[in-house]
């Protein structure tokens, strides 16, 4: 164990000098989203109007919520987040949102 002491001293010195942080380039690849909207009426409207910006799971994990809630969410997505939701698809979207796994319970 004679070699342990010099290594220890070296480590302490390095700490005292407090080496500046080194920022490196970092790049990641996000995983593919394999989640999908289950097949029930309105699915095509969901794919066309909702899936472009976020995963289906954002919707599929929601609890049972009122039609009023979902109407205000569609309004928020359109007016605040500028989502190009086709007004003609809105009844299908609402039907889908209010007929989910949680809504069925």
């Amino acid at each position: 164990m004679k070699w342990a002491l010099p290594i220890l001293l070296l480590a302490v010195t390095a700490c005292d000098q407090s080496p500046a942080v080194t920022f490196t380039d970092v790049s990641i690849t996000l995983p593919e989203d394999k989640g999908a909207f289950p097949d029930r009426p309105g699915r095509q409207a969901m794919i066309a109007n909702c899936a472009g910006c976020h995963s289906p799971s954002m919707i599929l994990t929601q609890p049972r919520l009122s039609e009023e809630h979902w109407k205000s969410t569609i309004k928020k997505m359109r007016e605040v987040y500028k989502a190009p939701i086709n007004p003609a698809d809105e009844p299908d979207i609402l039907a889908y949102l209010t007929s989910g796994e949680a809504a069925a319970q």
């Binding site: 407090s18 500046a20 942080v21 920022f23 490196t24 380039d25 970092v26 790049s27 990641i28 690849t29 996000l30 995983p31 593919e32 989203d33 394999k34 989640g35 999908a36 910006c53 976020h54 995963s55 799971s57 954002m58 599929l60 994990t61 929601q62 609890p63 049972r64 919520l65 809630h69 969410t73 605040v80 987040y81 500028k82 989502a83 190009p84 989910g100 796994e101 949680a102 319970q105």
Partner: protein, 395 residues
């Protein structure tokens, strides 16, 4: 046909049963469901996480991680990106942190400039999403349906924000500091995710611009290369991939994520109430959890029950933790204070039980604020801090 939950309860869920998503699942026991979440896919620089949403990422820390220690490992630390586009690569030399607005000298700092702006310090603090635990409330509301895992505790390393602000010589009439990261809105015209702090909070001794987390660099998903650390305040202010600081000379910030959302009722409200006054959400209340035993855990008859958990004081240190059991409040033993606004370990040896027993942990912080028995309602499901209870079953 078996339901998905029954499959999980029976332990047979696997690639064959649900081939489309992942091989492993977690059941978060959210009242009324849906409760089951995949534990994949695995994200870069991350281990197994509860995947609430792939795009943009919402990753929750599995609860058993909190039993392993007061520090949440970087690869298990929760991830929450708002609805915009998050960059997936950082070129270190090209990154700039700009300071502008009510300043005498606008500047664009390199990462090395930021690191050299002042003394490098380390602060331990809990980072918790304002909506942590939203999915657990009986009266469910929309939003990310988290269980307890939208929180974590880390040692953050960086320089004080005030030292960075001084680089631009902030005007004497500065009122707020507004922060932006590299993430941008998904669609032109949508609001950017920017947040602001009162100048006195921004200049606090423990508010830092961090690059380090638990001895390593921040994972990109947690905000590399720079993240604001605001100990005691909810994570919405801990802006990731920090790239712009605007000094405001007004007390009012009318940007969307300050003025329209992330707000709490200023008065007690009930479900259905409308048009009540609100204020921006800010500091955190105390919380505590039992981590050694899960809901419905079986315990050996005739033997003391060794309970273990974590607590946080919110915007003050942890003063005490009590275990509520059979009408009594039994003081727990606190572990070492490793960082006042971080997690604190607690332990308690509970006498043997002969029948099922509901127990809960209750934290009181150094300001004398105690966790409530009943959660005050707010329409966004923010700031849950009710006493969390589990049932123990003698076996």
């Amino acid at each position: 046909m078996l339901s998905r939950r029954a499959l999980i309860a029976s332990g047979v869920v696997g690639a064959a049963a649900l081939p489309a998503l992942a091989e492993r699942f977690a059941d978060l026991a959210l009242p009324g469901g849906p409760s089951v979440r995949p534990l994949g896919p695995i994200f870069p620089q991350k281990g197994e996480m509860i995947v609430q949403r792939v795009h943009p990422p919402l990753l929750e820390t599995p609860f058993d991680v909190f039993d392993t220690g007061v520090i949440t490992p970087n690869d298990r630390f929760f991830v929450r990106w708002s609805g915009g586009v998050m960059p997936t690569s950082i070129e270190a030399k090209a990154h700039r942190l700009t300071l502008r607005g009510a300043v005498k000298q606008p500047v664009a700092l390199t990462l090395d400039d930021v690191a050299g702006a002042g003394e490098t310090i380390e602060v331990m603090a809990v980072n918790q999403c304002a909506g942590n635990g939203r999915g657990l409330q009986e009266l469910r509301v929309g939003g990310a349906q988290w269980a307890h895992g939208a929180m974590g505790n880390a040692r953050w390393r960086g320089v004080r924000l005030r030292d960075v602000l001084d680089k631009a010589r902030v005007s004497s009439n500065a009122k707020r500091v507004r922060l932006a990261g590299l993430d941008t809105p998904m669609i032109d015209g949508a609001p950017q995710f920017i947040k602001s702090l009162p100048i006195d909070v921004a200049r606090r001794d423990d508010v830092i611009v961090a690059w380090g987390m638990n001895g390593d660099m921040l994972p990109l998903l947690n905000g590399y290369p720079l993240r604001l650390i605001v100990p005691g305040w909810f994570a919405t202010y801990w802006v990731k991939m920090l790239s712009d600081i605007e000094i405001l000379d007004t007390d009012v910030d009318d940007s969307y994520f300050m003025a329209k959302t992330y707000r709490m009722p200023a008065i007690p409200v009930a479900p259905g109430d409308k048009d009540f006054p609100t204020v921006p959400i800010s500091f955190m209340p105390p919380r505590s959890w039992i981590t050694s035993h899960a809901q419905g855990a079986r315990v050996a008859r005739g033997r003391p029950i060794e309970l273990r958990g974590i607590a946080m004081g919110g915007d003050a240190g942890v003063a005490r933790v009590e275990v509520l059991a059979g009408g009594k409040a039994i003081p727990a033993t606190l572990g070492r204070d490793e960082g006042t606004l971080g997690f604190r370990r607690w332990t308690l040896s509970l006498p043997p039980i002969a029948r099922e027993l509901v127990i809960g942990a209750r934290c009181t912080n150094a300001n004398g604020v105690t966790q409530p028995d009943v959660q005050a309602w707010n329409p966004s499901g923010y700031a849950r801090n009710v006493v969390e209870r589990i049932m123990l079953v003698p076996a």
